[in-house]
């Protein structure tokens, strides 16, 4: 009897634990998701109606008008162009550099392996800092050019080490048999290693693309006064910063007349959605890859 009631208590407290835990996780789910749904609802709500407030998860007066309006704003199209360009080229170059370096570092017979590996790892622990980096860019005359978005970040130690631990997990015999067939080191990298690395490359591509898509500070610091080189995030930043002072977009001649009857709130939220959506659509499909990519280092260490 005594043991019975003990077991009963145990299962009951287990149940309580499960229920409380599920409730807490549910609350976390709502806290994470609500802001996005709220932004989406407001962006789809009639802009004058939004001023009345009280829009939560569903638009009260549904309209696509806000989206039509912002796509008529030349700054946004311009920013989108530069952002897509930097995301594509930055991701491609970053993948090439990280995979090549990772491959050479995975070769136990590579003579300069230790030097390259240490040289690379050091960059994760220190940096020259904001101002010296800025001054370097000035000396290299990269300020005011598109290249400043791409060149400084081409080599990332973190990405190299993730790919490298992946390659370390591949059977070395594959490389050796390729070598016996007379393949040189570049051919082995290109024909044998790269195809096998697809999952980890997908992870790194996501990291690189997200980094490029989301970065705004380089635009602010280096190209803020170059309208032809501003990025999507920077355009959003300008619009969001216009709180209660009319709108940053009043300068855009194509919008100036409409501003009177447009509530900036719905417009702001529509731009936020445009800036955010591409990544939110992509990441769940790559989840399997990036989770295992992130895990690689942890489990091995």
């Amino acid at each position: 009897m005594a043991t019975n009631s003990k077991a009963f208590n145990a299962t009951r407290s287990e149940k309580v634990f499960d229920v409380v835990n599920a409730i807490i996780m549910g609350v976390i789910l709502i806290i994470t998701l609500y802001p996005f749904l709220n932004v989406l609802a407001i962006s789809l709500n009639d802009s004058t109606d939004t001023v009345r407030g009280g829009i939560y998860l569903w638009p009260r007066e549904f309209t696509w008008e806000n989206y039509k309006t912002i796509f008529g704003y030349s700054g946004l199209i311009q920013g989108l162009k530069i952002t897509v360009l930097r995301t594509l080229s930055g991701t491609l170059l970053g993948l090439i550099s990280a995979s090549m370096l990772a491959y050479t570092l995975s070769r136990p017979d590579f003579k300069s392996r230790k030097f390259v590996s240490t040289f690379l790892a050091m960059t994760m622990y220190f940096s020259g800092g904001l101002v010296p980096t800025y001054m370097l860019m000035r000396h290299l005359e990269l300020i005011g050019t598109f290249w400043i978005y791409i060149l400084p970040g081409i080599v990332s130690a973190f990405n190299v080490f993730i790919i490298r631990s992946f390659i370390d997990g591949l059977p070395y015999a594959l490389q050796e048999s390729a070598k016996l067939d007379g393949a040189n080191d570049f051919t082995i990298y290109y024909k044998v290693i790269l195809p096998l690395c697809k999952p980890v490359l997908a992870t790194i591509a996501l990291f690189l693309a997200v980094g490029q898509w989301n970065s705004w500070f380089d635009t602010y610091l280096y190209n803020g006064n170059k309208p032809s080189l501003t990025t999507l995030q920077y355009e959003l930043m300008k619009v969001l910063a216009s709180t209660n002072q009319g709108s940053a977009m009043t300068n855009a001649n194509d919008l100036a007349n409409q501003m009177a009857q447009i509530s900036p709130e719905s417009i702001k939220m529509a731009i936020t959605i445009v800036v955010t959506l591409p990544i939110l659509i992509v990441y769940p499909f790559l989840q399997r890859y990036f989770v295992s990519g992130m895990t690689l280092g942890a489990v091995k260490a």
Binding site: T32, T104, R107, F126, G128, G129, F158, Y189, Q233, P284
Partner: protein, 326 residues
């Protein structure tokens, strides 16, 4: 996470036996032999040198009265004058206080909350619910600080912000709180935003480490009548101890170089005395007004203190838990 893979890298390297020293001719031969490996790595080494190491050379500016129009040899050297100026500036101590306060909060909560989240998510029943929570929890990580800044400002606003509306409807407050306009809220807002954005992402590593724990341990303890909290305390947490310490060292290393993106996006002129951190100080009082030498002194101070903190944390952890990152 960065360190985990780095440790991996260096550890593997140190295991590799050193090739026996050969004559010069032998070295050249091996370079020619491995020419493709050199072609695939040397360009990037040079790249790293230019973009990651050359800025260190820029530290010389901190000891000059740097004028962009002059060449290096024409610059006037002023010794430690910029540092004396820096340490005599009252604003510097205010900025240092902000940096330390926000990084300490970030360190404590940014470290504990993901750990809790991972441990309790792991205990969750129902695979679909578990996976949904996990997928959604990564979402904010993929959003830029520009967007998060906009969202947080909106949620905390006094007209129609959900936080104020909830507090009002529960009668916890009688009138909306001006969260964004009062300095005393700023540190908390930054910390909470960071937790909201990164908890799910930072939990990945903990979750992975938990997956690596032997399932039989849980079975055995269940037979012994251990409840869930007991299991968490006696199996889960000890099982991921090394992961915890490595991440802790890493976080301490980043204590002072916490970045400034969140502060930049959440700040406004009303709360500047609470929002300005070292990098923003360097930006505002160095780059934006052309005092490059002074700005460099601030950057150099930040970098040097970070590296000292990293080594100290590493040393302490090495002694106490035998875990280290280098």
């Amino acid at each position: 996470m960065e360190t985990l893979s780095a440790e991996n890298g260096t550890r593997n390297v140190s295991v590799t036996p050193e090739p026996p020293k050969k004559r010069k001719k032998g070295i050249w031969q091996s370079i020619v032999q491995q020419k493709y490996l050199y072609l695939m790595s040397l360009p990037f080494v040079i790249w790293l040198f230019v973009f990651n190491y050359l800025p260190i050379w820029g530290w010389t500016m901190a000891f000059q009265n740097y004028k962009p129009s002059k060449s290096f040899s024409e610059q006037k050297w002023v010794g430690f004058k910029n540092f004396v100026d820096l340490f005599q500036d009252e604003r510097f101590y205010l900025v240092l206080r902000n940096t330390l306060a926000m990084s300490a909060l970030g360190l404590i909560f940014g470290f504990i909350v993901p750990l809790f989240f991972a441990v309790f998510l792991n205990e969750l029943r129902g695979n679909i619910f578990k996976r949904t929570v996990q997928t959604v929890s990564y979402l904010p990580h993929f959003v830029s600080w520009v967007v998060v800044g906009g969202i947080i400002t909106k949620m905390l606003s006094i007209d129609g912000g959900i936080v104020n509306e909830l507090l009002l409807s529960m009668h916890i407050i009688n009138e909306p709180i001006q969260f964004m306009a009062q300095g005393k809220w700023f540190w908390g807002i930054v910390t909470a935003s960071d937790i909201w954005k990164e908890t799910g992402w930072n939990a990945i590593i903990y979750l992975a480490a938990i997956t690596g724990i032997d399932k039989e341990l849980y079975e055995a303890s269940r037979v012994d009548g251990a409840g869930r909290f007991r299991q968490i305390w006696n199996i889960t947490l000890p099982g991921i101890r090394s992961t915890i310490s490595v991440l802790l060292i890493m976080n301490i290393g980043h204590l002072i170089g916490i970045g400034f993106e969140k502060q930049f996006q959440l700040q406004n002129s009303l709360v500047r005395d609470f929002s300005e951190v070292l990098d923003l100080y360097a930006l505002n009082y160095g780059i934006n007004i052309g005092r490059f030498s002074y700005g460099t002194a601030i950057s150099m101070f930040t970098s040097v203190v970070s590296i000292i903190l990293l080594f100290t944390a590493n040393g302490i952890m090495k002694k106490t838990t035998k875990e280290s990152i280098m």
